[in-house]
Symmetry: C2
Subunit: 347 residues, 2 copies
Amino acid sequence: MEEKNLDKTITAQDVADLAGVSRTTVSFVLNVEKRESISEGTRQKVIDAIDQLGYVPNITAQALASRSAKAIGLVMTRSPRYIASDTFLPQIIGGLLDVVKKTNLSLLVEWVEAGEQITVYRKLIQAKHIDGMILLTPREDDRGLKELASLEVPAVLMGTLTETNLSSVDLDNRAAAKMAVGHLLEQNHRRIACITNAGISFSSAQERLLGYKDALEEAGIVYDQKLVRYADFDPQSGFACMQDLLEEDPDFTAVFVASDNVAMGALSAIRAKGLQAPADLSVVGFDDIPWAKFASPPLTTVHLPAQKLAKAACLLLLDLIKSDTVQIRHQRIESELIVRDSTAQLV
Amino acid sequence: MEEKNLDKTITAQDVADLAGVSRTTVSFVLNVEKRESISEGTRQKVIDAIDQLGYVPNITAQALASRSAKAIGLVMTRSPRYIASDTFLPQIIGGLLDVVKKTNLSLLVEWVEAGEQITVYRKLIQAKHIDGMILLTPREDDRGLKELASLEVPAVLMGTLTETNLSSVDLDNRAAAKMAVGHLLEQNHRRIACITNAGISFSSAQERLLGYKDALEEAGIVYDQKLVRYADFDPQSGFACMQDLLEEDPDFTAVFVASDNVAMGALSAIRAKGLQAPADLSVVGFDDIPWAKFASPPLTTVHLPAQKLAKAACLLLLDLIKSDTVQIRHQRIESELIVRDSTAQLV
DNA sequence: TCAACTTATTAACGCGCGTTAACGCCGAAT
DNA sequence: ATTCGGCGTTAACGCGCGTTAATAAGTTGA
């Protein structure tokens, strides 16, 4: 490709002029794959001209003319403060970019303020800036999502929402949590505390808590709310919750912390109290963040394949965009327990 | 705002019809702030019509007509695999979103494959999808950046590059590293190892290594290359580097690890060897990732205000976009050392 | 009363491209 | 010689909006 000055934008018309054909022909060469209604000769002339001029189609004009934005949106409901501490965002973006790049789409990142969701979701679509969206960390109390579901807009939820007819991709948080707690039960723990990953309005927090309850119930252990604390995503909150638990000392031998991020804080609190995991207290996390393996002690946890989830969500979204009829689909991805050194048999 | 069906897109013409004015008037009400050439009466009629119809301007059409994309791009050179483990991405995105939202712009995330940079940077701009870009983790060997600099395209580097005339925002990595190592020197350490944050082609790695050398030189200590290892962003590499150092045992009492992320792995390797920080080995990190505070032991480190940097970069970029004359500006942000428990006086 | 300005509004063009419908061309069939 | 049917190509319209230049209406001063 030749280097040309950028001062004047090169349009398809310039290419057409140079190739000695009409602009329509240029457009056909570029877009209409199948139809061989373009002779090999002219096709080559056009391609040569494109190379020579360094022509790049104006995506904006393409979008306007084709009535599709050539972009999808990653929409987060959390404020920048929370976004900044979202451990999985890099993995998710990495996964999305991977898929998006292959299909020549762009990725738009949007943040929606809590409270204004109802209007914003619609605006995003009406403004034609994106063809569809992937929604992160949905909250049960997000009324905008309910409306969105009735709008027949291509959208995929990363996460679970009860009673929604939006398509979604998620792992089975409840089953995974049950598995994690099951691991503790197998090691003869009976008094098992729980620190949630977030407030209960987040569906993942709810699901994981339910998994915890499931496991207890199956083992014939009564649920004791004195053993439960509600964290708020970050290590700080985990530290506080753990400190509180140790303070009140409800006599427990293990903890299920529904987020590694929170667990890092919890582990710190345990050490601060002069205790040791797993000798004094077994800890199971959830998420398998990159640092879990290098925590002290290395954290037993449930692996959350965020990148894989993101890819799946993206592929699903692309499907929805392609097929105009919106059929709802829920996809559940398997997870597994990674056993490391933070849990031990109760003696 | 009334709810209306979305099947038919509502255009400015529809608003004009309902308000009984021309489309131009609608456009003026929406865009021309200053000129009071619109009477209060018609202005109100238009606004009412907009509300009633739930009209949302088509950003794509706006972009085409106004010749500006109403969006900026966050461009990363690293592959999705690396993007997925970029600790600061959430903070950066959070910072950018914060600024971008206030100015009614959008944020586009792009990933550029190593090797194809030269063409891609230009394409991004030529395609008119973005008005300017913020470039992450620049590499010295990125020839595309050199070309970009000569293109008079609004662009801001997050990081430092020698001999570039692209605007940039960064902290003074070299001075900060020197400060970190200085802290170890103050504690009477003399044999101080260094594990870099990344390969030396990344300017930040180079700068931090230089800061390490500066500190040594000022203290009259000869630089010993046997004490230096090159990590690769992630904890795994930190673990390996530390293991290697301990293996070869070049008799050192402290380590400067130029990335907390890497340091998490290094700490793990220290524990694995049955050693304790800071009793056996003092460790200073760099970055102050959210988990540094909760590491075992809590990590002494240099605070990297990524969100603040991102905001500064974004504001600078917006300036560049606004003023058509591209004046280069380099902005350096102060950093500070956070002293925690991973370093101790050498006895 | 009429010219000289404002002020309020709009017709008309262009942004760059996708796409439909129509065109001219050439060889084969009538 | 005339008709027909692909094949290759293009003129022309539209996507929704920003913006300029021109028009219509209203105000002032002599």
